[in-house]
């Protein structure tokens, strides 16, 4: 009896000794990616002496909380956050430079270019892609057929989208041609900006320091959207929608074309297996294609100690292995690497490959004030789209957006 007790206490002593040696690395992760990162951390922890501890943070609160934690001198060791915030944190000297490490990875050239661009500030790299996604369009092939359109051929220009949407809306019976989420900044940058990029235009300059709102591409895109709205081809909830109902509306079979993202394929096949749909890249006004490179990047906080830095980067190496990439694809719809299509998608819906192929062409606005310019419901970008598409004064909305953008940029440029 005594012997057992001794053995148990010896074992527990041993266990606590190993625990004391093993370091814990804390990662803050936004809730939408929480489950996948948690699962990856568990897989890592099961095979490694060190521990990755994932703390989930509500998406909208990530920036204020992380900012407050950095200001208060008690940040986590790293964070997996929306890539669009990396320039802000890098410029504020909040992130750890990992340039050499990233460049030394064998898969360095297979990391989403937009994720690396956003993680780069003044020539140094501060982050790596974790869970990327890309915006695309989804269209209902049954409605295409009913409206006399070729379901095999995706609309290749915004002009074609407009014509298809009008034909589908003409079917009547509560059917609409087009659905986009117009009352949410994060949805609009995701689904609206790619039209401009596809035409080679952009709303911000390359370095994110100047506004270039008034472009022919923007005016053509707005004209097409206005045309659809006037014709009653756009689902009425688009205007006030914040994204809550978009997928349900499309899944109800009453919407022809939905502006959406790469996750839609797995979501629809899992939850609404009856919907017949195809996906395609987002076209420009008269051709071309682009996409918003979205999702999360992993960054380490400035001043992380060397041992924890080693563990955190070892965790990145771990999730970049082909085996874990397949797992990520299964859970999140897209792998972090762009060179693993065969392995990652072998068992999954091949429609996922559309978004995967477009990711290398996808862009993200490089900005130091994402929330104020784009995300805020009261910011100039949402007001531009609302005013120019649903309002009466296109010129006024565009010039107001240009001056609002400029005013904010002048104040926030680092």
């Amino acid at each position: 009896m005594h012997k057992y007790k001794l053995m148990i206490s010896a074992l527990s002593l041993l266990a606590s000794a190993t625990l004391a040696n093993a370091a814990e690395v804390t990662l803050w992760v936004r809730t939408s990616s929480g489950a996948v990162l948690q699962a990856l951390a568990e897989r890592y922890n099961a095979t490694h002496p060190d521990k990755i501890v994932v703390t989930q943070i509500t998406a909208e609160q990530m920036v204020p909380k992380l900012g407050a934690a950095i200001a208060g001198g008690a940040p986590p060791d790293g964070a997996v956050l929306d890539l669009i915030y990396l320039p802000t944190f890098a410029a504020a000297d909040g992130l750890e430079d990992i340039t050499d490490w990233v460049k030394g990875r064998p898969e360095a050239s297979a990391m989403s270019p937009s994720h690396i661009r956003l993680a780069t500030y003044e020539g140094k790299i501060y982050g790596v892609p974790a869970l990327p996604d890309a915006s695309i369009i989804a269209y209902n092939t049954e409605l295409f057929e009913k409206a006399g359109l070729d379901p095999k051929k995706a609309p290749a220009t915004l002009q074609e989208i407009t014509e298809s949407a009008k034909k589908i809306a003409a079917l009547g019976d509560g059917t609409y041609g087009f659905y986009f989420v117009a009352n949410s900044g994060s949805w609009l940058i995701y689904d609206f900006l790619p039209h401009l990029w596809a035409a080679g235009a952009d709303i911000l300059s390359e370095d994110g320091r100047a506004a270039t709102v008034d472009t022919p591409a923007l005016r053509e895109t707005i004209a097409a959207y206005r045309d659809m709205w006037k014709a009653g081809a756009i689902h009425p909830t688009s205007r006030s929608g914040n994204g809550n109902n978009a997928v349900e509306a499309f899944a109800s079979g009453k919407v022809g074309i939905l502006m959406t993202g790469s996750y839609i394929v797995n979501l629809l096949t899992a939850k609404y297996p009856d919907v017949k749909f195809e996906v395609a890249p987002i076209p420009g006004p008269s051709g071309g294609a682009s996409s918003f490179a979205g999702g999360d990047s992993l960054a380490l906080m400035k001043g992380i100690d060397e041992e924890k830095k080693r563990i955190a980067l070892d965790f990145v190496d771990f999730y970049m292995t082909p085996e874990q990439q397949v797992f990520i694809t299964k859970e999140a719809g897209m792998p972090s690497r762009t060179d693993l299509a065969k392995e990652a998608y072998a068992k999954f819906d091949q429609r996922n490959l559309v978004a995967y192929d477009v990711l290398s062409k996808a862009r993200t606005p490089y900005t130091f004030s994402s929330d104020e310019l784009f995300v805020s419901r009261t910011g100039p970008f949402v007001n531009l789209v609302q005013g120019a598409i649903f309002g009466d004064d296109v010129d006024g909305s565009i010039s107001k957006a240009q001056s609002d953008f400029t005013r904010i940029l002048e104040r926030t440029n680092p």
Binding site: P64, A71, T88, A92, T237, E248, D371, R377, T378
Partner: protein, 309 residues
């Protein structure tokens, strides 16, 4: 004899109690917990807010002393003035609406009927829901595609298309006021009810005997005697309406075209969308000054006794 002696001692005890408290520190000790709370949760944050308002204080990066620059910018901030004007408009409308609903409700449930208690409970129930939860609930009720209101209206053939009140200003404001009345009228009703019930029955009876009809009794007795509960209800409603945030943040999200941004909402935007904590602090302090001014005017009214006016 013995009992008389006891009485005398009791009297002298009373006399001793009436003497000035010799141990003043005891009173201070009893007050300490609340002083600690007020200092820690109000006075210190207030001083910090004022301190921050003199700085350019970004969420990330260095803070810089800028003197009165934030206050000067505040004077020329058209968005802020617009939101203050909107808040005053909202406060006026919602306070009137709450009073118009709560007072009849108070009169209705102030009856010696058995069911009165049940109705009091029913009217009071929405009050116990948090403002954020109630706003989220209404956001979904109002959803044009799957919301209950749309389903009922369209399902009964009352309208052809689901109403979309949040897409234009007056419908959006009206629906928020409707929600706030539903949510808070019960509380005002209870305050007014205490006023109603504090009116002595014999005064009413005397008036009846003197031949005053119901309307006269209401105007000459009920209203003047519940003046103080009216004032209390007004102060509470105006203060909470001036601080309105949740309902606009959640239901209208400031739209359409930034027309329903309340004063606190613009403080939120400056602090947590633009991450200008110094400017947000300056706005908060300015709003505090406005609120103190409004409340002190109201309290002056409240201090006057009914018979003086």
């Amino acid at each position: 004899m013995g009992s008389v002696a006891k009485e005398t001692t009791a009297r002298s005890d009373d006399l001793e109690l009436n003497k000035p408290e010799p141990e003043g520190w005891l009173g201070l000790l009893f007050m300490l917990p609340s002083i600690a709370f007020i200092t820690g949760l109000f006075i210190i944050p207030l001083i910090m807010t004022i301190w921050m308002s003199f700085h350019n204080w970004p969420l990330l990066g260095r803070t810089k002393f800028v003197g009165l620059a934030n206050y000067i910018e505040l004077l020329g901030d058209s968005q802020l003035w617009h939101s203050l004007g909107f808040t005053l408009l909202y406060t006026g409308l919602v306070t009137a609406a709450i009073m118009m609903v709560a007072f009849p409700l108070a009169l209705l449930v102030d009856r010696p009927l058995r069911l009165a208690g049940v109705f009091r409970t029913i009217y009071f129930m929405p009050v116990v829901i948090g403002f954020g939860a109630a706003s989220t609930l209404w956001m979904w009720l109002l959803n044009p595609d799957s919301g209950v209101f749309a389903q009922i209206l369209v399902g009964n053939g009352l309208v052809d298309k689901a109403p979309r009140p949040l897409e234009s200003f007056w419908p959006a404001l009206s629906i928020v006021i409707l929600m706030v009345v539903w949510k808070t009228a019960g509380f005002t009703m209870v305050i007014l009810l205490t006023g109603l019930q504090s009116i002595p029955g014999d005064v009413m009876e005397a008036a009846k005997i003197d031949g005053a009809n119901a309307l006269t009794r209401f105007r000459r007795i009920t209203l003047p005697l519940m003046r103080n509960s009216f004032m209390l209800a007004l102060v509470l409603n105006i203060t909470s309406s001036m601080l309105a945030f949740d309902q606009f943040f959640i239901i209208t999200q400031g739209g359409p075209e930034n027309s329903t941004i309340s004063a606190v909402f613009s403080i939120y935007l400056a602090s947590f969308s633009s991450y200008r904590l110094g400017y947000g602090s300056a706005m908060s302090f300015a709003l505090l000054v406005v609120l103190v001014a409004i409340s002190s005017i109201q309290l002056t009214f409240m201090r006057q006794r009914p018979e003086e006016s």
